[in-house]
Amino acid sequence: MDAHGSRSHAGLAPVRRHLRERLETMHPAYFAMSMATGIVSIACHLLGLRELSALLFWFNVLAYGGLCLATLARIVLFRQAFLADWASHQRGPGFFTTVAATCVLGSQLVLLRQAPDLAFGLWLFALLLWLVCTYAVFVALSIRDDKPSLADGINGGWLVAVVATQSICVLGCSVLPERVANQDAALFFLTSFWLCGGMLYIWMISLIFYRYTFFRFAPSDLMPPYWINMGAVAISTLAGTALVAASGESPLMASIRPFVKGFTILYWATATWWIPMLLLLGIWRHAVRRVPFTYDPLYWGLVFPLGMYSVCTYRLVNTFDLRFLGWISRGFIVVGIIAWMFVFFGLLTRFLYTLVMALRARRPPLAAAEPVLSAFRSGASQPSHGGSQ
């Protein structure tokens, strides 16, 4: 029994090694899975797909918890790799997905579970994460000595910083104004976040567009997070509609409401402008240049904008009474669910791979067949025909 146990341990060594490698190289942007699942769940809820919405909610609770545990394990086991990511131009901005994922889960709790207190707790946690991520990542990137070129350093994933900032505003509009005595102060605070997000978008998208048009652009450069070019303005639209909806009788908001509404439509129009561009670039990448679809956690960054576009259009339709746009919201949720399924299947394949590897590793090695081999050696059970060749 002990021998068998030790054999199993030895056999599972490659599996353990595989899991450790996965944990060490875990991308900080993995929380995009929780963001994507949460926003698709919210879109399903708003559009009446209640069963799927509930299913995705529970999946997101598991995913968020699992990702938090994995991140904690990475901090403990691979602290150097974790710290190095903060100063990486490619991976550092991925930490902002923790903020957005926390806020999306909070929004789910408000909408699906009517649990504003829990959501408020998550909002406070997200605010703390936002402060840490914003000032740690951008300071670390600024002060490092060896910096990559613009072409190598920037990608659509940087815009997750915008998504994180706007997500604070979106969840805050649901949980903050009713908890503070001075509603104007709360709305001023949230409007500042909305404007900060807009400012970051203008800075970053200028660099990204410059990189698109003036640097060599290989198919491998068009990573899935480029869809956040659209997703960041989609969440800015959502934040704008949330501010308008939360403004109530606030004198401050009454004076700036036309400005907020105008900018909200500007953001929605920009998000819409990006969609054909990103589709064409995707066709160029996968159909023309034959880059195969293989699972990458960064693909969650493609699902999130699809779900967010559906949600922001739904809110825009309701806030501005634009019923003729309703079909867009419905169409995009169908695409969003299908995209979610594809990426989820890709993730499951990863787990299946590990499972199959573990099952094969547990098969008894040659030593386990020793009695049979001995029987063959003695010649007792082996007929002579055939011989060895």
Binding site: L47, M341, P365, R377, Q389
Partner: protein
């Protein structure tokens, strides 16, 4: 007879802790390779079928639920009649996911068997634990 003339059969006998003689192994090697390829082919087919069924399930489910209109209250009202059908379409979705899952498992097993066969080459050597 030397132990090296024996081959550990990973697919069938390995699981039961048996070993077969080299001549038998040589006789079964092409069939095991063919079996691995067949598993991969079958797995690919199931993955494709799973995708198609899942997409059909999603589209049907959304079509049924959207029949209530974009207004949430009105949608909810109409959805009450559509719930059994909506759940049936969710069942289609689940079947698609299951077919895909089984297909992926089959494909992965086939791919790993094929890899092992390739790494073992023509020689009857004991298998390397992956």
């Amino acid at each position: 007879m030397n132990a090296n003339t024996f081959l550990f059969n990973r697919d069938e006998s390995g699981r039961r802790g048996l070993a077969v003689a080299a001549h038998t192994a040589r006789a079964t090697r092409p069939s095991r390779t063919a079996r691995a390829e067949s598993m991969q082919k079958r797995g690919r087919g199931m993955i494709f079928a799973g995708f198609i069924i899942t997409i059909a399930g999603v589209v049907l489910y959304c079509a049924v639920c959207f029949s209530g209109g974009i207004d949430a209250d009105m949608g909810e009202l109409l959805l009450e009649n559509a719930v059994p059908f909506a759940r049936a379409t969710l069942g289609v979705l689940a079947v698609g996911a299951l077919v895909w899952l089984v297909g992926s498992f089959t494909y992965l097993r086939g791919a790993m068997d094929a890899d092992d066969e390739a790494s073992n080459g023509g020689e009857a050597t004991p298998p390397q634990v992956p």
